[in-house]
Amino acid sequence: MHCQECGKRPATLHFTKIVNGEKTEFHICETCAREKGELIPGTSGGFSIHNLLSGLLDFTPGSHAHGTKAPENLRCEECGLTYSQFSKLGRFGCSSCYKYFNDRLDPLFKRVHGNTVHVGKVPKRVGGHIQIKRKLDDLRRELQYRIHQEEFEEAAALRDQIRELEKNISEE
């Protein structure tokens, strides 16, 4: 089962919340849980998802979180920097470090920047498909909204636009 927040990573956390007799299930990865902790409805007051997760996010050597490598074994295959060297130096060795340490970076970036995803300038030569992807994200969000509002004509038009863009990407 995939995480219902990011749709990418496997969901490692499953829980049920009952508010006024209404049952809601959550399936999320620990990264998203940490990130969206406060945004999950009904979690404020009395029940903190951060408390629940603190065990999972304990990165000290020897602890083994679900399916993730202990940090002392984690290293960048490109430049050889280990994760523990990285956390001591506070510097990456090469751009591939971002890939190899990726699973551990969201909490760090969240703490430093309050964000985890770039929304700024994109190099023009590599940027074509990124612009399209961003546009697609926007359109998909709008599509959901239109469907929710039961504005099906607009939704259909959006769906066609999305298909057209998706075709462009796959042709690249």
Binding site: E78, C79, L81, L89, G90, R91, F92, G93, C94, S95, Y98, L105, L108, F109, V112, H113, G114, N115, T116, V117, H118, V119, G120, K121, V122, P123, K124, R125, V126, I130, K133
Partner: protein, 352 residues
Amino acid sequence: MANLRFTEQPLSEWMRSGGKESEIVISSRVRIARNLLNRPFPMLATNQQSEDVLNQLESVLQDQRMQQFGPLSSVLLADLDELDKKVLVEKHLISPNLANESRYGAVFISDDESLSIMVNEEDHLRIQCLYPGLQIEEAWEKATAVDDIFEAQVDYAFDDNRGFLTSCPTNVGTGLRASVMMHLPALVLTQQINRILSAVSQVGLTVRGIYGEGSEATGNLFQISNQITLGQSESEIIENLYSVVMQIIEHEKSARERLLSESRLRMTDRVMRSYGILLYAAIIDSKEAAQRLSDVRLGVDLGLIDTLPVQVLNELNVMTQPGFLQKKFQVSMSPGERDMYRAKLIREKLGK
């Protein structure tokens, strides 16, 4: 190598004009960090790899679109003696980090010194633009234009999600650090400064002393910069900084007005005493010099001193730094001797 013009004259061309809000904002600076694809960051690079990076980036400077920024002088850090490096740092033309990292570290400086391009610093490439007064948008526009030229010719380390990949996690995303240097004596005198600076830090900005991390704010100079580089667009970063700086300017202005209306005599006394000390002292340490220069600058801005061009004070802010002093008098000095030469230089400058 030929003698470095940049270390001979204290005042960069760019500092000669005042710029917007120049009675409070000394300068605006934008720096963007970039790295080349598939090359280890300078920290882990071999000599050969660093040399390759330098050659590749240097070749971009030949691009004819670079000509709009005027001729660039190329300076290999390894060719400089310690004193010249120190002066370049004191003029903010290079970072302290580049001065220490001389292995194929290089800087390319425009004639007016408003553009400096650092190679093999913490990142492969750092493009920096400096303007007088509040011109943060202008500095960004120039830096991004230079960035576009590089980007057209070299492949950057860039990731869809993380943006521009940098050596330090605090620069990832936009790689953009925008800073504004402010002179805030009235906020310090009226003891509002801490309240304002802590408010600033709560909106994603940081405050530092004039020579960057770890150094103390001297002479009531404060550098306000963005802290967040990931998850905000460049224009959001610039606008946020700009609007906060405008608010600080308003607070400083009203504090100055209040000081003038409520304690004009005491202000005049303070300013004139400091002016007198600068005119006649035989020994002065750098901390006192910075404080007295700050008082005199405030006096000029408030119209209490009307015979002194502010440019002289800008010049003295640079010239009274240890590196420049030694450069100017061509002798190596003990700290005690520095205090004597500093006083001598200030007397000469103000006596004119």
